[in-house]
Amino acid sequence: MLFGLQIQVAGLLLAGVTFLTVWWGHVLVRIVHYYMGTRPAPALFLAGLLSLLATTQTANDLLAAIGGIVGLTLMWDAFELHRQEKRVRQGHAPLNPRVHHQAAGIAAATLAQSDDSDDGENLCLSCGSDAGNRFLCRRGPYCKVKQWEHYSAGSPVDAGSA
């Protein structure tokens, strides 16, 4: 009781749970996809479903709420693994050649097709960005194509006019 008001702690708790689940869901998708690819997706979906079903059998509402949020997020993350696969193929997420065989093959084929003699200047070997196509790059400032100095504090950004 505070100033005669009943304080509901459940909302604040679930706000924290939502925030952490979404955050660690992102982390889970990144790391699981990097080391295992999309293979654990059905397992993730089942784990989420089981957690969701388990909440229907609990008597504690707060516990049920936490299980529900975590369960549905896990089910979402199962689909997110496949979206992550797409991001890797587009060069937006890091590629692990020991796991992502197909994506690595696609990247290699793209590289082989491009007949650039001066790879160091016009083609980023990590993200496949060239003068015409700009992808999110895991090489960051090392990417010679992306012209990262555009984003420095002094100069205005040309993203709108490009």
């Binding site: 509901q8 909302g11 604040l12 790391i31 997020t73 890091p94 990262w148 420095s152």
Partner: protein, 121 residues
């Protein structure tokens, strides 16, 4: 049979799904540099949930506030995505203030190739 988990889980999925939409719209219409205001708004909703009349309203407010706060920290990432041409840029965007400056923190997973920090998202 306890429906609380199912209902709140579905609601949180709805709130997160809506988050995808409003983060894109907010970056387009307002600009990601206002992310701290959004964070404060989310915190306000969380604080409001403390004074809700019952459990259900409190949890709904809490989940909404939590997802708004998540959207706030997602805004700088959205700015990055627009930089890279994955989303449409507002015509007046070049004149706006920015969250990301320089090359040091230009990429959310660090500047080296690979997975980056485990906690980055």
């Amino acid at each position: 049979m306890n429906w609380t988990g199912l209902v709140l889980g579905l609601f949180s999925m709805l709130a997160i799904g809506l988050g995808f939409v409003w983060v894109i719209r907010f970056e387009y219409l307002v600009g990601a540099y206002r992310w701290k205001w959004v964070l404060a708004a989310g915190a306000l909703v969380c604080a409001l949930s403390l004074f809700a009349p019952n459990f259900l309203i409190s949890t709904l407010l809490g989940i909404t506030g939590g997802s708004i706060m998540w959207g706030a920290v997602e805004l700088p990432h959205q700015e990055e995505r627009v930089d890279h041409g994955l989303f449409r840029a507002h015509p007046a965007r070049a004149g706006r203030r920015r969250v990301n400056h320089g090359t040091e923190n230009a990429h959310s997973h660090g500047s080296k190739p690979g997975l980056g920090k485990w906690w980055s998202f």
